[in-house]
């Protein structure tokens, strides 16, 4: 029922960096960060690829320890593992998200607002 996740001390720096070195996954992380606290299901990311392809990328992010996926009915609710990543690699996630926020070459989740509302 519950999907496999590494625990915090098993999260590996090269694996995290490798996983973030893909524009689609970077866009997923950026969008999750912009909606932090709000669990999102996979369908929210369909702008970034096919259903099958997103399943693949979301599994990579989860297995690397970047995201957490909780099974709720037929949905998988996805959240960023910010506290775990901050504990393991202080400042890394923030600088990646800040850098990604500036990059017009990265894909974005269309029509949605990437800014956190006031």
């Amino acid at each position: 029922m519950t999907l496999p996740h590494p625990n915090t001390d098993q999260i590996s720096l090269p694996i995290v960096l490798g996983v973030l070195g893909d524009p689609t996954r970077l866009a997923i992380v950026r969008y999750l960060a912009s909606k932090e606290g709000v669990p999102l299901n996979c369908s929210q990311f369909l702008d970034l690829g096919s259903k099958t392809n997103l399943s693949y990328h979301l599994a990579k992010l989860r297995e690397a320890g970047v995201t957490r996926a909780e099974v709720v009915g037929t949905n998988r609710m996805i959240t960023l593992r910010r506290a775990d990543l901050d504990a393991r690699f202080p400042g890394l996630l923030d600088s990646v998200i800040a850098a990604a926020g500036d990059d017009p070459a990265l894909p974005a989740v269309g029509g949605h607002d990437l800014e956190i509302p006031a």
Copy 2:
């Protein structure tokens, strides 16, 4: 004579992250950071792989904009492009290097001291 490098505004976040998502290249960057200011030639990294293999990894780092290589006689002097990376992605390099410094699973350049001497 001079090797091709991207200029600062051409450095791409996903490419940099992807390039750093390899233990050998992360070890190279960590070692360069520990000897910052001192240009190193390729032979300094032979602990991390064969000559051919290092040529490959060092080219990846250079093409991504992470390092600079200057031809001096038969040597290529390698330096970290810290100022350029800091300008483009503030805080990223520091957090990666700090995280890599904690990781006992990463390869290291053998026999040498990774700490900056007092």
